[in-house]
């Protein structure tokens, strides 16, 4: 299985990543791209993480997905640092012989990334104030739904 995991400040090319997930035996590729949402007044989103543990945690999540679905390739790219509205935050992609595994694994990966990898978001507003984003119970519920 071809696994690619990156935690980086730089942007990613989602189209190129999807192409890389293709290969011998692949019949379906699922992908998700998370972007910075501006609900009004947002200047930027700051992404902080725990270097070392982040990579370990993402590797564990990918291993769980691979144990659950017959994946042929999997890519997780999570950006950190200062991101402005509409910029990319995260790319998740999974390739398998059939669509069900690819789509389910993609949803599982993003649900678990949100609740089990050490990233923290802080919103910086145009007014100059800033505030840490609180964890959502709906995200916890989504992740638990896979148990």
């Amino acid at each position: 299985m071809n696994i690619r995991i990156f935690v980086q400040e730089a942007d990613f090319d989602a189209g190129a990543e999807i192409m890389l997930l293709n290969g011998l035996g692949v019949g379906g590729i699922g992908s998700f791209i998370g972007t910075v949402r501006d609900s009004g007044g947002l200047a930027a989103l700051w992404l902080e993480h725990y270097p070392g543990m982040t990579e370990r945690a993402v590797e564990k999540i990918v291993a769980q997905a691979a144990a659950r679905w017959p994946l042929l390739a999997c890519t997780v790219i999570h950006r950190v640092g200062r991101l402005t509205p509409a910029q990319n935050i995260v790319f998740v992609g999974a390739a398998s012989a059939h669509r069900e595994a690819a789509l389910s694994a993609t949803a599982f990966l993003i649900d678990w990334l949100k609740t089990s990898a050490p990233f923290w978001k802080r919103e910086e507003f145009l007014s100059g104030s800033s505030e840490w984003v609180a964890a959502k119970e709906t995200d916890e519920a989504a992740a638990r739904g896979w148990l």
Partner: protein
């Protein structure tokens, strides 16, 4: 042992990492939180609401009952909000 603080815990405590030597009676994550809380007002503020604090022992998530004996690196942080 090395202790790391992230996000608003880092801001309230005023530092991101430090070396500490808790007494041997401090055996669990929960006991370490109580011990850290007594180190100053920043710590007391950071650990005021324990249900908002998560922990990792040697880079694995750990609950308040987890043992800290022999740990190299213990991190405290808020519930994660990535993705």
């Amino acid at each position: 042992m090395r202790v790391l603080y992230f996000a608003w815990l880092r801001e309230k405590i005023g530092l991101g990492a430090e070396e500490i030597m808790p007494p041997p009676a401090v055996e669990t994550v929960g006991a370490l939180i109580d011990w850290l809380r007594a180190r100053g007002p920043g710590y007391a503020a950071a650990f005021a609401e324990q249900k908002l604090v998560r922990c990792a022992v040697d880079q694995d998530f750990a609950g308040p009952e987890a043992a800290i004996a022999g740990a190299q690196e213990i991190a405290f942080f808020p519930p994660v909000t990535g993705g």
